[in-house]
C-alpha cells in the first residue's frame, strides 16, 4: 500500500515531473492579461499564483460539444459519431474550489441516467489540486463549507508549505499518477493546518446565514427579488465562469448535406433560457431569473444534496458587469423573509 502523503520541492517541480513522465498537461497560463487553463509543454509556462478567470470545468464540460453528426441521403439519414474525447490529461494547478466544482459536476452528470459525453471526457482527467495560499478579495470558499486547502474533487492535492509542498494522494487515479513521478516525490507528511489557518485569516469574512436553504425557499414569493435583481443585465457571465453551473442547450446545425447536434453552454440568466415555443416564458423577468439562480445554488440543490451548489470561488461576484453579489442577495432575501 503506497503512502497517502508525499513531499516535493515545489509545485513546479511536481509539474516538471508530470511532464517528464510524458503526460498531457493542462494548467493555468497567462493569455492576453488573464489566467486561463491551457495546454502546457514546459513547466515554466504554468502560472501557479492567482485564480484563472474561467473555472476548470471546460475540460470536462466544453463550451461546445458535438453529440453526434448526421448525413442526409435520399432517402434516409446516416448517423455519424459524436466527438472524440481528448487524450488523457492531467489538469494541474486546480484550486480547491475548482476541484470541488468538478466533484459537484461529477454528481450531476454521473447520476442516472449518466451523461456519457461528460463521463467520457471526465474519465480521462486526473485532477492535481493546488491549495490556495493567497486568497483574493472575492474568495468565499469558507462560506460554503470548503477551505483553501480542501481536497474535494482532487486526485492529488499540493499544498505549499514554508519549505516545499505537501502532496496528498486522494484517489487511485492520483496514486497511479504518483507512480509515474519517481524521485520527484518523497514519502513524507506535514500538517497543513497552519497553511489553512493563514489563508483563511487572509480572506474577507463572508458567511451564509444559517437555515438559508429554507429561508430562501420561503422567500420565493417576495417582491424584494425585483429590487435585488434591478441591476442584473441578464448576461451569462456568472454562469459561464462558475465551476458548478452546468446548464446547456442542444442545437442542430445543418445544411443540404447533413449536420451535427451540439451541446452548448446555456445560462439561466438569459431570457431565452426558459422561453417556450408558445411564446410564454415562465421566468418572464430578470427578478425571476435571478431568483432561480440564487435558489438553485442555495436552496434546491442543498435540500437535495446537503451542500450548496457553490464552491465559493467568487468569480461571479468579481466578473459581474453590474456588481451583483449572489451571497449578498441570497442572504438579504432570506433575511427579509424572516
Amino acid at each position: 500500500m503506497s503512502p497517502t502523503t508525499y513531499l516535493a520541492d515545489s509545485a513546479q517541480a511536481v509539474l516538471t515531473a508530470i511532464l517528464a513522465a510524458g503526460q498531457r498537461v493542462v494548467a493555468p497560463v497567462e493569455q492576453a492579461g488573464l489566467l486561463a487553463f491551457a495546454h502546457v509543454e514546459q513547466a515554466e509556462q504554468a502560472q501557479l499564483i492567482g485564480q484563472t478567470r474561467a473555472s476548470a470545468k471546460e475540460l470536462a464540460f466544453p463550451r461546445t460539444q458535438r453529440l453526434f453528426g448526421y448525413r442526409f441521403g435520399n432517402p434516409g439519414v446516416e448517423l455519424l459519431p459524436g466527438e472524440e474525447p481528448p487524450a488523457p490529461t492531467v489538469l494541474f494547478g486546480v484550486r480547491p474550489c475548482d476541484a470541488a466544482g468538478l466533484a459537484i459536476l461529477d454528481g450531476v452528470f454521473g447520476a442516472e441516467p449518466a451523461d456519457a459525453p461528460y463521463l467520457a471526457r471526465r474519465a480521462r482527467i486526473t485532477v492535481v489540486g493546488l491549495s490556495c495560499d493567497q486568497p483574493q478579495a472575492h474568495c468565499a470558499c469558507t462560506a460554503v463549507g470548503l477551505s483553501p486547502t480542501a481536497t474535494d474533487g482532487s486526485d492529488l492535492l499540493l499544498t505549499p508549505l514554508a519549505e516545499g509542498v505537501l502532496v496528498e494522494v486522494l484517489t487511485a487515479r492520483g496514486a497511479a499518477l504518483v507512480d509515474l513521478l519517481g524521485e520527484a516525490l518523497r514519502p513524507g507528511a506535514a500538517d497543513k493546518a497552519e497553511v489553512t489557518a493563514r489563508a483563511e485569516a487572509a480572506m474577507a469574512p463572508r458567511a451564509l446565514p444559517a437555515g438559508l436553504a429554507d429561508g430562501l425557499a420561503a422567500a420565493f414569493g417576495e417582491a424584494a427579488w425585483a429590487d435585488a435583481a434591478a441591476r442584473c443585465l441578464g448576461c451569462g457571465t456568472c454562469a459561464f465562469v462558475c465551476p458548478t453551473c452546468h446548464c446547456f442547450d442542444v442545437v442542430d446545425e445543418s445544411n443540404l448535406r447533413g449536420g451535427q447536434r451540439l451541446r452548448v453552454w446555456d445560462a439561466c440568466q438569459f431570457g431565452l433560457f426558459t422561453l417556450h415555443a408558445s411564446g410564454h416564458n415562465p421566468r418572464a423577468d430578470q427578478a425571476a431569473r435571478y431568483r432561480q439562480r440564487a435558489l438553485h445554488k442555495f436552496s434546491y440543490y442543498p435540500r437535495a444534496h446537503g451542500r450548496p451548489m457553490c464552491v465559493g470561488c467568487g468569480r461571479c461576484v468579481n466578473a459581474c458587469p453590474a456588481g451583483m453579489d449572489i451571497f449578498e442577495v441570497a442572504a438579504t432575501a432570506a433575511a427579509g423573509q424572516g
Partner: protein, 455 residues
Amino acid sequence: MSTETLLTPSAPDTATWKPRLVAFVCNWCTYTGADLAGTSRTEYPANVRIVRLPCSGRIDPHFIIRAFEQGADGVLVSGCHPGDCHYTAGNYHARRKFMVLHALAEFLGIEPERLQFSWVSAAEGRKWADVVSDVVAGLLRVGPVQPTWGGAGELPVRSLSEPPRPVPEPLDVVGELRATAQRWLSDCRVDVFVGYGQGSLPGRLRPAFITSPDEVDQLVWNEHAVNNLATYLTRGLVKRHGRVGLLVKSCDARAVVGLLQERQIEREQVTLLGVPCIGVEVDGALAPKCHTCDSAWPALVDEVLSAEVPLTPVDGEGLAAEIAWVEKMSPAQRRAWWQAQFDRCLRCYACRAVCPLCYCSQCIADQSRPQWVSKSSDGRGNLAWNLVRAFHLAGRCVGCGECTRVCPSNIRLDLLNAKLAQVVRDEFGYVAGGDPDLPPPLTTYLLEDHEEFIR
C-alpha cells in the same frame, strides 16, 4: 466524409483545389448582366455560383459571413450602378453598408481578394465576365481559405494600450449629487434616481436605484463609477418606475443621444443629471477611452453638478494608436491575432448586455430560424457573433467601452468599435452620439459617397 466537413471545410487538397466564388447579385442589373454574358456566349470561369436577390440593398452581410462559413473562398457582391437602382436608392444604402463591411473585413485580416464588390449593369455582360475572371484569378493568387478559425494556438501577445496613465483624483460632487437627487425625488420630478452606490467588493461601485429621498446617502461618486447607466433605460426601468433621473458622464450622455435618435426613449421620460468627469479607472489605470476624451461636461443634460474641472490636455492617440498597430500587421497576422481573441469568446453576451445600444428584445444571435449565428462557442460561431456585434454598432457605438471592460475573456471589442467609428467618421463625416436629430449614418446616404472599393 467526416462531420466536420459537412459544415466546416477542412483543409483543401491544394492539388485539386478550385476556388469557390459565391456571387450575391441584384435581380435587375447584375443578374441580367450575367444573362447577357450568356446570350453573348462570353466565356468565364465556372467557379462562380450566383445567388439572386432583388436588390444589392437586400444583400445582408450575414449572407456573406455564412458563405465563408460554408466553404466559399471568395464572395462577390454586385448590383446596379449608382443612379440605376430599380428601387431608386437600394444600391446607395448598400454602398454604405458594404463600405463598413469592407473595412471591417480588412481590419480582421481577411484578404481583400476574398471579398469583392462591383457594379455591373444589365448591359455589361462583358464586364460581368471580366469581373468574375478577375476575382477568380485573385482567389487563385491567395489560395484556399485555411480553416484556421477555431484552433489558433499560441500567439505573441502585446499590451497595446498607450502607457497606463494614473487616474486623477475624482471631483468632489457627492454633496451636490445627493442634494439634487433628494430634491428631484422630493419634488416628484422623478420616480427613481439611478446613480452609483458602493459595491460589495472593496473599491468597486455599482449602479444604485434610489426611489426615496431618504436613501440618497447611498449615492457616491468617484473614479470607479464605470458603468454606463444609460443601458438601464431600455431594460425596463421606465416601465417599472415611470420617470427616471439618470446620472450621466459625458460618454453616457452620448448613449442617451443614440437612444433618442433610435426612438427607444422619449426625452421627457428621462431627467439627466450631468456629472463632470475627468476619468474613470479600469484595471488599475485610467480607462483607455478617457485618454482621448475631450469633454468633462456631458451634453443634453437637464442639470449639471458644479465642480472645478482641471484642464487636462487631450494629447493621447488612444485607440487610434492601437488601431494603427493592428493595421501594420500583415493580413495573415491580423487574422491570427483576432482569431486568438475570438477563440476565447464564451458567448456569455456580457458585451451585449452592457451595451446601451444593444436593446433588441430578441437578438438575432438568439434566433434559430434561420440561425443567423452559430450557437457553438467555437471559431465559426464566435467569428460570426463578433462580426455581427461590431457591424450592428457601426455608426452607433458611442465608445463608452463597457463591452470591453466587462468581457471576461479580454477580447478587444473596443478596437473593432473604434475602427468602425473611424470609418464612419472619415467616410460619412458622422460621429455617433452628437446630434439626436441626425439620421444614423447607415440609414441614409449621399450620392457622392465614396466607392473606390467597388469595381
